[in-house]
C-alpha cells in the first residue's frame, strides 16, 4: 500500500519489542462480538484507477466554465489568481495544524494576524477573528455572541437574510432563545425595526441582501441601539466591500460574512470561510481563534493564539463557542488573494463587478415583461419574470446558460416568490455571456 511505510520485517520487529505476536493482539480490548466484521467495500486501488473513478463523478456535472454562468445567492464565481492556489499548497501551510506551538508556527500565525487586520479593514470594524467555518455558521455565532454581550436572548432576523443562514441560526441559536424572522420583501427594506423590543439582543440584516439589494443600515442601527440591541450585519459577497459602504460605517456591532469570493472556488458549497468582526470592547465574548502579537524572550516580535480562556479547550462548558478546527486554509487563500489585490485592485474588481451587473440587468429588463425587482444593487439583482423562474432556469440550462437561482428554491414556503430570479454577474462574465443570456431568455419568454 503506497501510503504505508512499514513492511512486514518492520512490523515483526516492532511486535517483538511490544511482546505480542500479531497486530490483532493489540485489539484484544474490543468486545469479541464486535471483532472483525465484514465490510462490503472494495480492495485498495492504484492512483490512476482512483483518479479514473473520481473523474467519472466530475464529468457528470456541468462546470460553471462550460456555460454562461450567473448563479450567486451566497456563492460567487470569481477569478482566483494562479499564485493563490500554488501558495496554499505549500506543504508548510497545507499539512500543519492549529498553531498550538507558536515557535514553529509563525507562518500560520502571522498570516492569521494579517488576515484579521484585512478583515477588520474591509468591514470597517475594530477587530476580527481568525475565521469561522463559513458565513452561515458565523452568523449563528454572532447571534449567540450578541446574547452574551447584552444578556438578552431574542434575535430578530431580516426576511431578506439568506434563508440557509436563517435556518442555520435557528439550529445553532434556537436553543438559546427566541428567533423572529420577518417576511422577505424583495427590493425594499423589510419592517424589521418594529420587531425590536427590550428583550432583543440583536437584529440580523444582510447587505447586499439575498435578493442583491443594498441599503443604508444606519437608521436601523439607530433604532436597535436606542433599544439596547446590537446590529449584526451579514454579507455573502465580500467583493462588495470594495464599492459599497461597509458595515462598520453604518453602525454594525458584529459582522459575519462569507469570504468565499476571494481566493476560494465554488466547490459545490464548501469549504468556505467565515469572516467575523466586531467592536473591540466585545473581544472577550468573541467565538473562535484569535492571533495576537507579542514578543519572544529575546524581544523579537512574534504571534500567538491568544485570549484562549474564551475557548472550549480551556473553558469547556463555559466556552464562548464549541468551535475548534475552523477554516484556516480557506482563510489563507482569502488573505493571499486580498494581498494581491490590495486597495486598488479590490476597488477596481468591485467596480468591474458592478458594471457587469448593470450591463446585464439593463439588457435583461429590455426583454418584454421582465422587471428589475431590486433597483439598488452591487453585482446581484432579482428579476421578476412573467412565469415561474424555476422552469425558465431549467430550460436555459439546456441552452448553455445557468441563469441564476430561482427564489422559490430558497423560499419554498413563500408564495409570491415563484417568478423571482436571483441573478449574479462577476468579472468572469464576458460580454458574449451577457448577450447569450439576453437572447436565450428573450427566446424562451417569447414562446
Amino acid at each position: 500500500m503506497r501510503y504505508l511505510p512499514l513492511n512486514d520485517d518492520d512490523r515483526r520487529a516492532m511486535l517483538e519489542r511490544i511482546g505480542v505476536s500479531s497486530i490483532d493482539d493489540l485489539f484484544r480490548d474490543v468486545p469479541a462480538s464486535a471483532r472483525e466484521p465484514q465490510f462490503d467495500l472494495p480492495l485498495h486501488a492504484g492512483e490512476s484507477e482512483v483518479e479514473r473513478m473520481l473523474s467519472r463523478f466530475a464529468l457528470a456535472n456541468t462546470g460553471a466554465g462550460e456555460c454562461a454562468f450567473f448563479c450567486g445567492a451566497g456563492a460567487y464565481r470569481h477569478h482566483v489568481p494562479a499564485s493563490v492556489d500554488y501558495l496554499i499548497q505549500r506543504s508548510e501551510f497545507l499539512t500543519s495544524y492549529t498553531p498550538y506551538q507558536p515557535e514553529i508556527s509563525q507562518g500560520t500565525l502571522q498570516t492569521l494576524f494579517e488576515f484579521q487586520t484585512q478583515v477588520a479593514a474591509i468591514t470597517a470594524m475594530e477587530i476580527a477573528n481568525a475565521s469561522m467555518y463559513d458565513g452561515s455558521t458565523g452568523a449563528a455565532e454572532a447571534v449567540l455572541m450578541a446574547h452574551r454581550v447584552t444578556g438578552r436572548n431574542r434575535a430578530v432576523l431580516s426576511g431578506n437574510l439568506h434563508p440557509h443562514y436563517a435556518d442555520t441560526i435557528r439550529t445553532m441559536a434556537g436553543l438559546a432563545g427566541e428567533i423572529v424572522v420577518t417576511p422577505p420583501v424583495p427590493g425594499s427594506a423589510d419592517e424589521i425595526s418594529e420587531q425590536i423590543d427590550n428583550n432583543t439582543s440583536c437584529v440580523v440584516v444582510q447587505n447586499p441582501d439575498v435578493f442583491g439589494s443594498i441599503r443604508d443600515l444606519a437608521p436601523l442601527a439607530q433604532v436597535a441601539h436606542s433599544k439596547g440591541a446590537l446590529l449584526v450585519v451579514v454579507f455573502t459577497e465580500a467583493v462588495s466591500l470594495g464599492l459599497v459602504r461597509p458595515p462598520g460605517a453604518m453602525g454594525a456591532d458584529i459582522v459575519a460574512g462569507e469570504g468565499q469570493s476571494l481566493g476560494n472556488a465554488l466547490n459545490f458549497g464548501g469549504p468556505y470561510v467565515g469572516l467575523f468582526a466586531s467592536r473591540e470592547r466585545f473581544v472577550r465574548q468573541m467565538p473562535g481563534r484569535l492571533a495576537g502579537q507579542t514578543a519572544d524572550v529575546e524581544g523579537r516580535r512574534g504571534f500567538v493564539l491568544t485570549l484562549s480562556a474564551r475557548e472550549q479547550h480551556i473553558r469547556r462548558e463555559k466556552a464562548t463557542s464549541n468551535i475548534c478546527t475552523n477554516s484556516g486554509l480557506c482563510a489563507l487563500a482569502f488573505t493571499i488573494h486580498l494581498s494581491l489585490l490590495g486597495e486598488t485592485g479590490l476597488r477596481k474588481l468591485a467596480r468591474l463587478n458592478h458594471a457587469r451587473a448593470v450591463t446585464l440587468a439593463e439588457s435583461l429588463v429590455a426583454i418584454p415583461e421582465v422587471e428589475l425587482a431590486t433597483p439598488a444593487f452591487f453585482n446581484e439583482f432579482t428579476l421578476r419574470l412573467p412565469r415561474p423562474a424555476a422552469e425558465v432556469v431549467e430550460t436555459l440550462a439546456g441552452r448553455g446558460v445557468l441563469a441564476g437561482v430561482p427564489a422559490s428554491r430558497l423560499f419554498p414556503s413563500h408564495t409570491g416568490c415563484e417568478n423571482l430570479l436571483i441573478v449574479a454577474a462577476t468579472e468572469t462574465n464576458a460580454e458574449s455571456d451577457i448577450d447569450l443570456y439576453r437572447d436565450e431568455l428573450g427566446g424562451v419568454l417569447a414562446r
Binding site: 501510503y3 516492532m14 457528470a60 492549529t98 439550529t171 443594498i214 459599497v244 480562556a309 468551535i323
Partner: protein, 509 residues
C-alpha cells in the same frame, strides 16, 4: 521590536551570530504586508471601468480602506518565506495526539480541483450536478458501511460542528417523545468540545470519573443514570488512547435508562476497517474526515464532520437529505418534503464540505477495506512500539497496551524543575513537532503521542532515541537545555501572558 523590513543598518546586531540584515541564511525575518505593501500596488491586473451612480443608492464607500497590495513576485516571496516558519507533516514527525497528523496524499489535492467539483455552484439545477450528488452518496455509503450505522448527515463542517449535529438530533428525538432531560454525561477526560457542545445545546454537564486504569467507571456511570440524563458523550478509543472495553455494557445501560449514546469519533483512525461502532450500540458519532480520512489540516481547517446515526436518531437528521429515485439523485431542502422523517433543521448553508468529500473518498478508494484495516493496524502498532520503547524511562499512567496513541505523564520528571512544557519545547529543538501536552486533563503533565500509520520505523526509532536521551538528561540534574528551549526555532518562547493581558489583534499604522 525587531528589525523587520528595515534597510540593512550597516551595524551587525551585538548578539553572537548577528548579521547586518537581521536574517540568518535561510531563516528570514519577514515583515507584515502592512509594512511592506503599498495601497497603489496591485498583483492583479483588472480593467479600470467607469461606473454611474444610478444603481448604488448613494451607498458608495468613501475614504481609504487601508489594505496594501503586493505585486505577484512580492506576494509569492512573502508567503513562501512565511511558510518556511511552520512545522508541518511534510517537513517532520508531528505526533500531535488526538489530531491524527497523517500523510496527506496529493492525489486528493489533484482530484478536488477537477472543474467538475471545484467549479460547480451549490444552487445550480440539480440535473447539472448529478455527479456531485452521486459522489456524496458514495462517500455516505462508505461511511455507513465502515461504521455499521444506517444513516449519515453530511453537512457538519468540522468535528465540533458534528457533535452539535448529533446532540441536537438527540434533543429532537427526546422532544419527539415528550421527554425533557436536562443532563449530558461527559467523562472528565473528554475533549473540551464535548462539554462546550452540550452547553451550547442547553444541557447541563455532569462529569463521570474514570477508573484507575483510565476507562469509564461503569459503576459510577450506572449510578449517574436517571430519567434526567439525555445522553453520554464518550470518545472511543478514549482520550487516554485506550479502548473502552465496556462499550456494549455502557450502551445497554444508557438505552435501558432511556438515554442516547453519542460517540466522539475523533479517534476513529484506531479502529477503521476493524470495528463498526454500530455493533457497539452507538446512536450517533461524528467522523473527522480531516483526521481519519486525511484531508489536509491546513493550519487549522477546513475540516468536515459527517455524523452517522442509528435507526432511532436517523429520522431527525438535518436538511438537506439526499435521495435517489428513477430520475437520479435529488436533494430535499424543504422539511415538508421530508415526510415521514422530521429533520431538526439545517447545520449550515448548502450541502457540506464538497472539497473535503472528494479528498476523503480518494483516500478511502485508494486504501480499500484491506488498506484501511492495515492503516489502523499500523497506527496502533506504532503507538504501542513507542509506548513499549519508552515506558521504562518515561512514566505511563496506565498499564497494558494502548490503541493509536501512547499516553505518558510527568512522574518521571519528579524532583527536577523540568515540566512537560519544557520537554515539548526541547523537542522542537530536536526537529520534532511536540506531542499534545496537558491533555487529557485527568493525567498530570500529560504527553499524548500519536504517531499515525504514516511514519517509518526509522523515524519512530529516532524519536524514541531522542526521548530516551531527553529523559536521561532530565534526571541528570541540568535543566538548562530544557528551560531555554527552543533555541533553534524561528522564535524563542513567546510571552503568551502579555499577549492576553494587552491584546494586539491587528496591525495599526
Amino acid at each position: 521590536m525587531n528589525v523587520q523590513d528595515k534597510p540593512a543598518s550597516g551595524n551587525r546586531a551585538a548578539s553572537p551570530g548577528g548579521t547586518y540584515s537581521g536574517d540568518h541564511a535561510l531563516q528570514h525575518e519577514e515583515p507584515l504586508i502592512f509594512e511592506r505593501g503599498r495601497t497603489d500596488v496591485s498583483g492583479v491586473d483588472i480593467p479600470d471601468v467607469e461606473i454611474g451612480p444610478r444603481h448604488l443608492a448613494g451607498l458608495e464607500r468613501v475614504g481609504e480602506i487601508g489594505i496594501p497590495g503586493l505585486s505577484e513576485p512580492e506576494a509569492i516571496r512573502h508567503y513562501v518565506r512565511l511558510s518556511q516558519l511552520n512545522a508541518a507533516i511534510d517537513t517532520g514527525f508531528y505526533p500531535l495526539g488526538s489530531c491524527t497528523m497523517k500523510h496527506n496524499p496529493r492525489l486528493g489535492e489533484k482530484v478536488a480541483r477537477f472543474a467538475g467539483f471545484a467549479d460547480v455552484h451549490p444552487l445550480q439545477p440539480q440535473r447539472t450536478v448529478q455527479g456531485a450528488l452521486a459522489l456524496i452518496a458514495e462517500l455516505a455509503r462508505w461511511l455507513k458501511e465502515l461504521t455499521g450505522m444506517p444513516a449519515v448527515a453530511m453537512t457538519p463542517r468540522a468535528g465540533a460542528h458534528g457533535e452539535l449535529c448529533g446532540i441536537i438530533a438527540i434533543r429532537a428525538a427526546l422532544e419527539n417523545r415528550g421527554d425533557k432531560r436536562p443532563i449530558i454525561l461527559v467523562p472528565e477526560s473528554a475533549h473540551g468540545t464535548n462539554p462546550a457542545t452540550a452547553a451550547l445545546c442547553g444541557f447541563s454537564v455532569k462529569s463521570i470519573k474514570a477508573t484507575g486504569e483510565g476507562r469509564v467507571d461503569l459503576a459510577s456511570l450506572t449510578q449517574a443514570l436517571s430519567s434526567q440524563v439525555a445522553a453520554l458523550m464518550l470518545t472511543n478509543p478514549n482520550t487516554s488512547g485506550l479502548f473502552e472495553r465496556d462499550m456494549i455494557a455502557i450502551a445497554d445501560a444508557l438505552h435501558a435508562a432511556g438515554a442516547y449514546f453519542y460517540c466522539d469519533g475523533a479517534n476513529f483512525n484506531a479502529i477503521m476497517g476493524r470495528v463498526k461502532p454500530g455493533d457497539l450500540g452507538v446512536d450517533a458519532m461524528h467522523i473527522n474526515l480531516h483526521k481519519t480520512f486525511s484531508t489536509p489540516h491546513g493550519g487549522g481547517g477546513p475540516g468536515a464532520g459527517p455524523v452517522v446515526f442509528s435507526e432511532r436518531l436517523a429520522p431527525f437528521a438535518p436538511l438537506p437529505l439526499l435521495v435517489e429515485d428513477d430520475r437520479g439523485f435529488r436533494l430535499i431542502e424543504d422539511s415538508r418534503e421530508a415526510q415521514p422523517a422530521s429533520p431538526f433543521g439545517r447545520m449550515a448553508a448548502f450541502h457540506g464540505q464538497m472539497g473535503m468529500f472528494v479528498r476523503a473518498l480518494a483516500y478511502m478508494m485508494s486504501h480499500g477495506r484491506d488498506g484501511l484495516r492495515q492503516a489502523s493496524g499500523d497506527a496502533v502498532l506504532s503507538a504501542n512500539y513507542i509506548l513499549a520503547s519508552l515506558k521504562d524511562v518515561i512514566s505511563a499512567p496506565y498499564d497494558g497496551s494502548c490503541m493509536h496513541e501512547a499516553l505518558f505523564d510527568d512522574t518521571f520528571l519528579k524532583g527536577t524543575s523540568i515540566t512537560t512544557l519544557d520537554v515539548a519545547k526541547r523537542l522542537i529543538d530536536e526537529g520534532f513537532h511536540p506531542m499534545t501536552v496537558y491533555f487529557p486533563l485527568t493525567v498530570h503533565g500529560a504527553m499524548l503521542v500519536e504517531p499515525t500509520e504514516s511514519e517509518s520505523k526509522r523515524t519512530l526509532d529516532r524519536f524514541i532515541a531522542v526521548m530516551r536521551g531527553l529523559a536521561a538528561e532530565a534526571i541528570s540534574g541540568d535543566p538548562a537545555g530544557f528551560k531555554q528551549a527552543p533555541v533553534f526555532a524561528p522564535r524563542r518562547r513567546l510571552d503568551e501572558t502579555a499577549a492576553a493581558r494587552n491584546p494586539v489583534l491587528r496591525w495599526k499604522p
